[in-house]
Amino acid sequence: MSARMQKSALAVLATYLCAPNLFAEFRVNMPEGVTRISEEVYSLHMLVFWVCVVIAIIVFGLMFYAIIKHRKSKGAVAKNFHESLKVEILWTAIPALIVFALGYRAFFTLEKMYDYDDSALTVEIVGYQWKWRYSYLMDDAAKEDSAQGTQFPVSFFSNLITPESQINNTEAKGEHYLLEVDEPLVLPVGSKVRFILTSADVIHSWWVPQLSVKKDAIPGIVNEAWTLIEKPGTYRGQCTELCGKGHGFMPVVVQAVSQTEFDQWMLGKQDEARQKASLNVKTWTMGELMETGERAYNTYCAACHQANGEGLPPAFPALKNSAIALGPVEAHLDIVINGSRVNPAMAAFGAQLSAAEIAAIITYERNAWGNNTGDMVTPQDVSNFGSSQ
């Protein structure tokens, strides 16, 4: 070890020893959680744990007794027993009974976990590399309202907001380092919520330890889960299925609030959705599209294609002077809405962005950085393209 490393190792050690409160929670066990199911799972976990401890004490106790007593150095002489059907049957039967009892106990908890009926609310959870999308599904009445334009589907992405600087250690880490998102999943306490889960790309897994809900989000498959939260609060979890380089960076945050707060929040979301929907039908000017487009481009596309449109070839192509950005609009709409057919890195944005956002981004891409096509793509063009498929 170099002197520098030694020093920094010491410094680290010192921080840990002197500031135990820095990392206050020193958890060594599963949380009991905030639902009936999670409490049941916890007690099941503890039951199996204690059964194991008791067996361990007996078996290892006997073994260490033998190790201490029956050693040659103490003059122990080996006895000559090496077969006993009775004993064998006994220590086959007793463990068999124990596991049967444990299985019987687990059966009932499992049965409850598989009862998805009678939920008051259904949330669709879709895994993306590397974020979650939550959509509140409408019941039949709401769907009717929606057709009349008085209800709007509420759906949003939930992204990690821990800054790069904290991840790269240039800034101190916050309290909820890696477990914080821009928009949490908001749920009402006291009512049964059903989740349906799937994925847009690879397999992810949605987990909140405090709710004892973990279910895989698998492309092409729709899974179910449910929860009934009893205590308001913020509950944090993570994706638990390896899903690529961002696997460690797609947290799950659930904010459980009272039913009234939830209804209020829902109204606010409805307003937002209404405004978004109105953007899809309003008449845009070129200037508005360019301005909105630049903002949205920098949010959703610049990570790969770069703010200056030059990309990072060969991994991420330039859009400045690119064949698609200068060619027919249809091809441009196609790749942005449906994604690339050859390279999954270029995702399908059709389901992620509104028609207005896509229109603005495409207009921006076709006119920025010297791509002076003069084309103006409107939200109607995007919807028409979508429905023509």
């Binding site: 680290v12 060594v28 199996v48 744990f49 390896l242 460690g248």
Partner: protein, 524 residues
């Protein structure tokens, strides 16, 4: 026509490199397997050190997430297919003919082939680290579609490497079966066979049953990637779940492939140092066989969270918990063997006792994981990482180390240094527990596996675990030193260096001559 009737025992091995390249001698090939395995153990260990160094503290310090994923993948693949499995094949090669009184393996040329394709497979696998797009980064379980549609281009080389490893394993297994079925000395009846031979026989059948499934899975991946099929792609009508079913149909028996021979090793060592016959030989054989049979009907316990139906969940929970029964029988038998023995604690015995204790701890966490409702909380967290490292490191690996100390005098005719051996044991014992025990806590507290960076509440135990890992890793260098020191400068060993050891292998001189049992021994 001249008769080719001469005595083989006088001609020794060929000289130089050709001795090793063209060898058809079970002892030489066993030695090759063991050295290969040891080198892979250090390479896989190096990758583990990279992983633990990155996880020493929260934040990204040493490597980027892309490379981190390559490290976890390569670490797993190399340890499973490069270190543990070849080590047991090496032990089988060396010991099975000596234990059953056979002059060699039944198919010596195939034996040579099955070893010599391995270095190429691993050279290819490791070379992917230097390819554009990097090495495989989808975990050793390589779930589709992360390993197909979303995989780096090097996945094709990975597939080819797995094919070669599979072919090698199948050939090795056929050889073991053919040898045991056909080449036992007169009087070596089934129920006189040492347990190591029994466990390997059963393991070989497991290998033959599941390695083709693995080959099938990777071939389907190859087709999906290059030939436009959609076995595992939902968009084309396939299913990513099909992959998991197939993979774990291979994968679960695979974990027993890595542990049954270890049971055999421990069942040889404990009676030797307790100076007392193995308790419950018959039940040991039956327990091994029933574990092997059960291992085919438990695979979906790795998939409790994928959304299998309630009845399926129940079935796989029940069958998995059932495996605890024959496994328990084994542990009880070992303890009963020690009971009222006359024990001494040389290095092989220390490792064997640690095996019994720590493997059992891994078994306990396995029982916990089998409980489906609780598994929803444990699945894919560090609790699982702790579980399988407990059964694989102080389980399989400790048994291999124990076997090495136990049979090294027979292999090279020299005794290792007991003080160094015991030092190695205590360093390993402490290291392994400091590394893996805290991982139970981190997992229960909520840390997923396979992440390069973690929330701050997991920091303390991760640091402890990393320190343990560096400690454990570096103490294995002592193992390497002890082996070399023994070969070069160890004291001369007797034919039977262990007072209580039993079996045909101790009836031949140490080191075992190049050819043994050309006239079969008489087994009473």
């Amino acid at each position: 026509m001249t008769t080719l009737d001469h005595d083989h025992s006088d001609h020794g091995p060929a000289k130089g490199l050709s001795r090793w390249l063209f060898s058809t001698n079970h002892k030489d090939i066993g030695t090759l397997y063991l050295w290969f395995s040891l080198s892979m153990f250090f390479l896989g260990g190096l990758f583990a050190m990279v992983i633990r160094a990155e996880l020493f503290q929260p934040g990204l310090q040493l490597v980027q997430p892309e490379f981190f994923n390559q490290m976890t993948t390569m670490h797993g693949l190399i340890m499973v297919f490069g270190a543990v499995m070849p080590a047991f094949v090496g032990l089988a090669n060396w010991m099975i003919p000596l234990m059953i009184g056979a002059p060699d393996m039944a198919l010596p040329r195939m034996n040579n082939l099955s070893f010599w394709i391995l270095p190429f497979a691993f050279a290819m696998l490791v070379s992917t680290l230097f390819m554009e797009g990097g090495a495989p980064d989808f975990g050793w379980t390589f779930y589709a579609p992360l390993s197909t549609t979303y995989a780096p281009p090097s996945v094709t080389f990975f597939i080819f490497a797995v094919h070669i490893m599979g072919a090698s394993s199948i050939m090795g297994a056929i050889n073991v079966i053919a040898t045991i079925l056909n080449m036992r000395a007169p009087g070596m009846t089934w129920m006189k066979m040492p347990l190591f031979v029994w466990t390997w026989l059963i393991t070989a059948f497991l290998l033959i049953a599941v390695m083709p499934v693995l080959a099938g899975v990777v071939t389907m991946m190859l087709m999906d990637i290059h030939f436009g099929t959609s076995f595992f792609s939902a968009a084309g009508g396939g299913s990513p779940l099909l992959f998991q079913h197939l993979f774990w149909f291979f994968g679960h028996p695979e974990v027993y492939i890595m542990i049954l021979p270890a049971f055999g090793v421990v069942s040889a060592i404990i009676p030797a140092f307790a100076r007392k016959k193995l308790f419950g030989y018959h039940s040991m054989v039956w327990a091994t066989a029933s574990i092997a049979v059960l291992s085919f009907i438990v695979w979906a316990h790795h998939m409790f969270t994928v959304g299998i139906p309630f009845a399926g969940e129940l079935f796989f929970m029940a069958s998995t918990m059932l495996i605890a029964v024959p496994t328990g029988v084994k542990v009880f038998n070992w303890v009963a063997t020690m009971f009222h023995g006359s024990m001494t604690f040389e290095t092989p015995m220390l490792f064997a006792i640690a095996f019994v204790v720590l493997f059992t701890i891994g078994g306990f966490s396995g029982l916990m994981l089998a409980v489906a409702p609780a598994d929803f909380q444990y699945h894919d967290t560090y609790f699982v990482v702790a579980h399988f490292h407990y059964v694989l490191v102080p389980g399989a690996v400790f048994s291999i180390i124990a076997a090495t100390y136990y049979w090294l005098p027979k292999w090279c005719g020299r005794m290792y240094n007991e003080t160094l051996g015991k030092t190695h044991f205590w360093l390993s014992f402490i290291g392994v527990n400091v590394t893996f025990f805290p991982q139970h806590f981190i997992g229960l507290a909520g840390m997923p596996r396979r992440i390069p960076d973690y929330a701050v509440q997991f920091a303390d135990f991760n640091m402890v675990s990393s320190i343990g890992a560096f400690f454990f890793g570096s103490s294995q260098l002592l193992f390497l030193f002890i082996i070399i020191h023994t070969i070069v400068a160890g004291k001369k060993a007797e034919a039977k260096p262990w007072e209580g050891a039993e079996g045909l292998e101790w009836t031949v001189p140490s080191p075992a001559p190049h050819h043994t049992f050309e006239t079969p021994p008489d087994v009473k």
